[in-house]
Amino acid sequence: MSGLSARVRVARDRFTLDVAVEVAAGEVVAVLGPNGSGKSTLLDVLAGLLLPDHGRVTVDDRVLTDTATGVRLPPARRGVGLLAQDALLFPHLTALANVAFGPRATGARRGRADEVARHWLAEVGAAEFADRKPAALSGGQAQRVALARALAAEPGLLLLDEPFAALDVDATPVLRGVVRRVLAATGRTALLVTHDPLDALALADRVLVLTDGRVVEDGPTRAVLSRPRTAFTARVAGLNLVSGTGDPAGLRTPDGTLVAAAAGPPGEPAVAVFRPADVAVYTSPAQGSPRNVFAAVVAALEPHGDTVRVRAAATPGGPAWVTGLAADLTPAAVADLALEPGTPVHLSVKAAAVAVHPAGTAAAG
Amino acid sequence: MRKFVVVAAAALVLAGCGTGSDQGGRALTVFAAASLTESFTALEKEFEAGHPGVDVRLNFAGSSALAQQLANDAAADVFASADTANMEKVEALLAAPAVVFATNKLTIVTPPGNPAKITGLADLGKEGVTTVVCAPQVPCGAASKKAADAAGVTLRPASEEQDVKAVLTKVRAGEADAGLVYVSDAKAAGDGVTAVGFPEADKAVNDYPIAVLKSAPQADLAGEFVALVRGADGQAELARAGFSAP
């Protein structure tokens, strides 16, 4: 099977990246991971900007890097395109000349290169900016041109490194739509690094979660995000996650607390997952219903669209896993309860709103 | 107000650069050509020994620069020039006509040991001999031209330098086979160069005149200093430095 196949090991002072990544031809895979998890290092190795200690990278069965045989194709000969957070359009060239840069660099005549460039500018909806210099483009327009430029070089693999992170909130959905449409239309093999689960949901067929230099989750996007097995994945997916051991009544945390839910895998490592919107907050203990109630204190209040996200912390002496749980309340509710950081509260969630997933240690390395 | 302070401070700094303080006895200011540095410095000590409480201040520079300073009202008692032309420029400022107290002749200088085997002025016109002289616009260059004309030699200089020191630098560095400088300069250069005398040097003798200025603050001391220079001790000191008697 062609596409990307990479086994990479890079040792740094206090960090080792050690991953195997397979992307089928035409597939789009998202890489999620906290800062310092090794995402940038992985991209640099694939783009040929960094030589791994050990590893082999092939794209469409062409060997780009192989430390065993000493193969290390330079960036210019790898056919790996890069769309970064900043558009990095060459400031001295027009949008058209920027897009035509790749074809010209690989030997196309000027007329032919311009033709290719116009095609790709039209493809990303930026045909009207052809004659503008980058300084005269908005962030979103520049990123479109940068996408066209990356595609015009006909890369065998396209790397998208947080491509929407520097854009205005309004520009992000539009450009995300453009990338989705173009990737689907061209059947390009692509690896997308992002923080935003929406990017992954909209663009990726599959998600890899990278933590501390290892792949800890790997699976279809929707499945991974709706059934997170690590705290990081849960947080990017906007979900609460409590880990422990499966129990016929739900999940048992290490300190013995029962999180009531549908039955979990008995005796197996498992995680309980629930949405912040399903968490209610009380200042006095609620009584007499089949609910989970956890004592906590308010750590922070964050505006979150129309709601306010209440971040909880453990009570002094209470179980530590409570820290980081979130509840979404209306601003009115926050005002009624007079919540502020430090307020003791009780978090309540119905057993029916809690899902328990097995948390088998994900295959890595 | 602030501006005034700045200007006043600047004025003080400038004033400080121009003149020294007048504390402790009398000061005699002598403007002398740079080539007189060694001999006049020796005479300064002798004069001060004979005149307790008197401080002789020597200002050495090129004669034309000194003449220009005098024309611009610099305060001095005595002016000793390396040529008559510059003395004539300040004729109106003199208390009495200038008198010649020494003469200086040209000599050929070569790198130590005379590697190019230069024997006379004629060698300086030869192909393959790198010669460095003073530019004809400055006094030592004018004298060089005069001597060469008298010898019927056409000099073919590789460079026409600004002053004698520049000629000596090139010869000392071995970058010239021969140069033309004054005997006193060759003497001051010591072992750094070898001097080769030539008879035509007598055709371009340079006179050194000395005079007391009309505006001299210490006219009596000035007269005594001139007498010292022209007397037996002064002449001996000048001869040691390579000058000839008038």
Binding site: - | G62, Q137, V138, Q162, E175
Partner: protein
């Protein structure tokens, strides 16, 4: 018309105006003094004297050649200093600044003891005489002027960074294409101002030239050397040529400098 004109600026401390005015006066007043001292009626005759014409022609030719050499040699040096990861580059970067801090006369002596007859290199070049030639003038000028180009260009290269170059490489461009189509255009403004500064420095070069190359009309006596020689004997002539030098310098700055600045932003 533009809104910028109406915007209220944060005030400039009055205290800065006084030294700023003094600094400006220090630059402008000497030139005014030069103009005041000159005899304008005899100016044309003095400037068109054979010695002056020869010196001006020699100065323009040598300074132009020196500037080209600064570009051909100093440009690549700046790229290496900015991009190379070879250990010791930091030391080299400091060494390149040496001609900026050395008195030019010292530079001239150093060149003499390297390329002169008895010099380190010169003694191995029998039959080749470098001092007293126009080539020596150009070498002295390159020596003193090149740091201006290297320092400015290297700074611009470091500021521009390598990210654009990395992107160009991922688009399939080989190193030479990247250099030609990305690196050079990015630093073009800095290159322009560096060349102007180098030319101006070469034009005004005096100490290293007179020490290393000597002074002979039409061969090594450039305009500054001619001025220095005339100052000894013919002050009016020296003043006239000084004015000529000022005019040439101002013309160079006026023609090239704004263009170099415009692109910089």
């Amino acid at each position: 018309m533009s809104t910028r004109d109406r915007r209220v600026r944060t005030g400039l401390p009055v205290l800065l105006w006084v030294p700023a005015a003094v600094a400006l006066a220090l630059v402008v007043l000497p030139v005014v003094g030069l103009v005041a001292r000159s005899d304008l009626s005899s100016l044309p005759a003095r400037i068109s004297s054979p010695g002056a014409v020869a010196a001006l022609g020699l100065s323009l030719r040598t300074a132009a050649l020196s500037t080209v050499l600064c570009l051909l040699l100093g440009g690549p040096l700046a790229v290496v200093l900015a991009r190379s990861r070879v250990p010791g580059v930091r030391v080299l970067r400091a060494v390149v600044l040496l001609p900026l801090v050395l008195p030019p006369v010292v530079g001239g002596l150093a060149l003499l003891y390297l390329l002169g007859r008895g010099g380190l290199l010169g003694s191995h070049l029998p039959g080749v005489r470098i001092p007293y030639t126009t080539a020596a003038v150009v070498i002295a000028q390159v020596f003193v002027a090149m740091p201006f180009l290297v320092v400015g260009l290297e700074g611009a290269l470091r500021t521009a960074g390598e990210r654009y170059e990395a992107v160009a490489a991922t688009l399939g461009a080989r190193p030479w294409t990247v250099f030609r189509r990305v690196t050079v255009p990015l630093v073009l403004p800095a290159l322009g101002s560096g060349l102007v500064l180098s030319f101006a420095r070469a034009l005004g070069e005096f100490g290293a030239t007179i020490t290393f190359a000597g002074s002979l009309e039409g061969v090594t006596r450039t305009l500054p050397l001619q001025v220095y020689l005339l100052a000894e004997t013919d002050v009016d002539g020296a003043v006239a040529l000084s004015l000529l030098l000022v005019v040439v310098a101002v013309a160079v700055i006026a023609v090239a400098r704004p263009r170099a600045l415009r692109g910089q932003r």
